[in-house]
Amino acid sequence: MVSRTAAQAATIERQVWRTLETVMDPEIPVVNVVELGIIRQVRVGADGALRVGITPTYSGCPATEVITQMIRAALDQDGFADARLETMLWPAWSSEWLSESGRRKLEAFGIAVEGAGAGRLACPRCSSRRLERMSEYGSTPCKAHYRCLECLEPFDAFKCL
C-alpha cells in the first residue's frame, strides 16, 4: 500500500462518504446509511489502509448484515475494493445519531422519531401531538408502535434508546 498525503487521504474520505450516501436502508429505503447514523468513521490510516466503521442500530437488527453487504458492493463499484469494513459497537447507536435530513425523510415516510427533545414527537400524518404509545415494540427492532388520538391512525416511531 502506497503512503498517501493528508490531502489525498481527505479527498478519498470525502469520496467514500459520498459513496456511502448512495446506500439506502433496505427496510426504510428513503434514508441512506449516513443519515441513519450508523457510519462511525471513514478513515485513511497512516498505512494508507481505508477503514469504514459501521455500528448496528440494535444488537439483533437483521438488516445489519444486508447493509454491510450493500456497503461492500457500493465501495467495490466505486473503486474502493480495498476498504476494510469494521464493526464498531462503541459509541452505541441511538436515535440521536439520525441526521436532521434523515429525520425529515423518515417523518415524510410516515415514521416519527422519539427522543428528539420532549414533546417533539408528532403524528407523521396530521402533526398532532396527542399520541398514545401502544407498545415499545414495532415492526422492526428500532421502532415503537404509536397511535394518533387526533386522526386515529397507527404509526411507527424510531425509538429512543
Binding site: 448496528p56 440494535y58 444488537s59 439483533g60 462503541w90 401502544m134 415494540y137 425509538k159
Partner: protein
C-alpha cells in the same frame, strides 16, 4: 489503577475468560431461542411483536458474545460453530432460560427474572476491564432496560389482574423460583472474574436483583416466593432435560447440512 489489580487481570487466563463470556452468550442465545418459538403464538399482536423483538435482541447479543468467546478461545470456532456444533453439556447458560415457555404467565415470569439479572449484569459489565466485553454490555444494557419494562409491566398486570391471572403467575413463580439461586450464587469463576475486574461483584448483583424483583412483585401484589434449595448448575454444563430438546431443534439444520447457506 494499582499494580496489584493489573497483575490480577493478567492472571485471568483465556480459558477462564472464554468460559465466562460463554455463560453470558449461551444465556442470551437459549433465552432468545425459547422466545423465538412463540412467534405467531403470543396472545395478542403487540405481545407477539414484543417477544419476537426481544428474541432478536437476545440472539444479537449472543452473536456478539459468541464471536468474542471464539476470539478469546483462538481455536478457529466462530459464532456459528459455537452455537450449532456444541452439545448440551458444553452449553454454559443458566438453567432458568432453558425452561419451557409454558403458558403466558410462565413465559413472562421467566423473562422477568432473567431481565432483572441481565440488566444488572450488563450495567456492571459496561465498566468491565475487558473492553470488548464492555462495548457489548453498553449496547446490551440499553436493550435490557426496555425488555425489563415489558416483562415487569406484565408481571404487575398479571399479579394485579384477575383471579385466574394471579393464580397462574403465582404458579409460574413457584415453578421457576428454584432456578434463581443459580443467577445469584457465585461459583469460583464468578468470584475470579470479579477479582480481576472483568465481572461484577456477585454480592452487588444479588442485592440489586432482589431489590428490583421485590419491588415489582410488591407492585403486583405478589409475595416473595418461598426459598427452594434445589439448585441446578447450567453454568458448568449440568442442565435440565429441556436443553437437549431445544438444541435438537435449533441445531438440526446446520448439523444435517454442514456449512449450508442460503
Amino acid at each position: 489503577m494499582s499494580a496489584t489489580a493489573d497483575d490480577l487481570t493478567a492472571q485471568a487466563g483465556p480459558q477462564e475468560r472464554f468460559e465466562y463470556v460463554l455463560r453470558l452468550a449461551d444465556t442470551s442465545l437459549i433465552a432468545g431461542q425459547r422466545l423465538a418459538a412463540l412467534l405467531g403464538h403470543a396472545p395478542a399482536l403487540e405481545e407477539d411483536l414484543a417477544l419476537g423483538n426481544i428474541a432478536l435482541d437476545l440472539i444479537g447479543q449472543a452473536r456478539l458474545l459468541l464471536a468474542l468467546a471464539g476470539r478469546i478461545e483462538a481455536r478457529g470456532r466462530d459464532e456459528d460453530a459455537l452455537a450449532f456444533l456444541r452439545d448440551a453439556q458444553e452449553f454454559r447458560n443458566v438453567s432458568l432460560v432453558e425452561q419451557p415457555n409454558g403458558d403466558f404467565a410462565q413465559t413472562i415470569v421467566r423473562q422477568c427474572l432473567l431481565d432483572a439479572w441481565q440488566l444488572e449484569m450488563y450495567e456492571s459489565l459496561a465498566g468491565s476491564r475487558d473492553l470488548q466485553l464492555a462495548d457489548i454490555a453498553q449496547k446490551a444494557v440499553k436493550e435490557c432496560r426496555y425488555h425489563w419494562r415489558f416483562s415487569a409491566g406484565w408481571l404487575v398486570r398479571l399479579g394485579d389482574g384477575t383471579d385466574e391471572s394471579r393464580a397462574r403467575v403465582r404458579s409460574a413463580l413457584d415453578t421457576l423460583w428454584r432456578f434463581t439461586d443459580e443467577l445469584l450464587t457465585p461459583d469460583v469463576l464468578d468470584a475470579r472474574m470479579a477479582v480481576c475486574g472483568i465481572g461484577p461483584a456477585p454480592v452487588l448483583i444479588r442485592e440489586r436483583w432482589q431489590t428490583r424483583v421485590r419491588a415489582t412483585l410488591a407492585e403486583g401484589g405478589l409475595e416473595w416466593p418461598r426459598h427452594q434449595h434445589y439448585r441446578w448448575h447450567g453454568k458448568r454444563g449440568e442442565h435440565t432435560e429441556h436443553l437437549g430438546h431445544l438444541l435438537a431443534e435449533m441445531q438440526a439444520l446446520p448439523r444435517a447440512y454442514p456449512g449450508v447457506t442460503w
